[in-house]
Amino acid sequence: REEHPKGAPSATPPYNLSQYFKQFVFPQNECELHSFRLSFSQLKWDKWIIAPHRYSPQYCKGDCPRVVGHRYGSPVHTMVQNIIYEKLDPSVPKPSCVPAEYSPLSVLTIEPDGSIVYKEYEDMIATKCTCR
């Protein structure tokens, strides 16, 4: 609105709107899931891990926004930790970007005694990130 009450500081001039909205845009490197594929031959384990040949554990990386809220399924504690870090004690770490959910992986391996085992392991592939 153009008119301002007498003596009030003038509002941000309209041409600076893009600057004004910049503070609400998602930060460039926000906390999110990143893909990473490895083959067991890189670890030289393909002699005893028969399957799968490739494995994508994925990982979480990026900055946690100050006002996390429900977007990451973060508890209120995350915001409290941020306030402590900013206002009270910078030695308390900022919230970190970590996996929130995983999926299992089936592995076929040769045991030291020569027997063969098919096993389904829990929590082997990160599927979702959160700030904690």
């Binding site: 670890l43 384990w45 399957a51 063969i116």
Partner: protein
């Protein structure tokens, strides 16, 4: 953690990820795992070793392993393809109950000379299986003796066999090849031509032994096989014992430990299979796809359990 910061001496033994400065037992993360987990996890020991040998290339050279039988390897690769996707994700739509399958090849087998062939072909063998890799948290769902045919030898099409299976008591294992003692018989009828594998369900037979965590199972098997339908000639074109390869022992298990994937966890609201057999239960479930249905009451109860 603050505690370890306050007492730098305890930092020395704070898990395998820290730069180990302690005695050999601290160096080896495996020794920090509970015994029940240590032996059975194919993946954990090498992962822990990699993380404790930080920066040294030595972790790449795994300790040498005995090489498995190629036929057994082919069977397990086929089972893997049926149970998981190419990326290794367990197939949720498979209603199989097992999350672990172990295949053991016999570490000792004694052939007995075939007796008179007039009664058809008698194939006798003693087998010793070492089950050290089965952990205390792995409960048996089903066990199968897996015969594969040496397909290079032409075996007539339809074969009817009577198989007798005897388990040798612990004491008699001192004899390398004790004589056969008779026991319940299994009758099998199969079309050799169509089958590359012959599975003989021995669950009820081995359940008590595996439930008591028997480490070595010594069993004696003898087959009497007849050609085609019993009314006609009984002689086999080719003696079976040249076509039958000594069997492997297949154990379908439910691993109840934290690290293992539990299907009912991921099935969530969808149809939940009947409750897991407890160690005392003899598994009536077929882990490769039981058709058990539960009413809603049962479902709630089994989920609560």
């Amino acid at each position: 953690s603050p505690h370890s910061r306050a007492h730098p001496s305890s930092a020395k033994t704070s898990g395998f990820l820290g730069a180990p400065k302690g005695t050999a037992s601290d160096l080896n993360p495996l020794l920090q795992l509970p015994r029940s987990v240590r032996g059975g996890y194919a993946l954990l020991p090498p992962l822990l070793k990699v993380l404790s040998d930080r920066g040294q290339q030595s972790w790449a050279s795994e300790s040498p392993r005995l090489q498995p039988d190629s036929r057994a390897l082919r069977y397990m690769k086929r089972l893997y393809k049926m149970s998981a996707t190419k990326e290794g994700i367990p197939k949720a739509n498979k209603s199989h109950l097992y999350n672990t399958v172990r295949l053991f090849t016999p570490c000792l087998e004694c052939e007995h000379p075939p007796r008179d062939l007039r009664k058809g072909d008698v194939h006798s063998v003693d087998l010793l299986f070492n089950l050290d890799r089965v952990t205390a948290l792995e409960h048996l769902l089903k066990s199968v003796l897996l015969y594969s045919f040496d397909t290079s030898i032409p075996v007539s099409s339809s074969i009817r066999c009577l198989c007798r299976l005897a388990v040798k008591e612990q004491g008699s294992s001192s004899q390398v090849c004790p004589s056969l003692s008779h026991s319940p018989a299994f009758s099998l009828h199969f079309e050799a031509r169509k089958r590359r594998w012959l599975e003989m369900d021995v669950t009820s037979f081995l359940q008590p032994l595996i439930a008591t965590h028997r480490r070595n199972i010594h069993m004696a098997l003898n087959f009497t096989c007849l050609l085609g339908d019993p009314q006609h000639s009984t002689k086999l074109v080719t003696p079976l014992n040249t076509a039958l390869v000594p069997p492997s022992l297949l154990l379908y298990l439910n691993d109840t430990s934290e690290q293992a994937h539990h299907r009912w966890n991921s099935l969530g609201h969808r149809r939940t299979n009947p409750a897991w057999p407890r160690p005392g239960d003899s598994p009536r479930l077929d882990p490769t796809g039981d058709q058990g249905h539960e009413d809603s009451q049962g479902k709630r109860a089994s989920r609560r359990r």
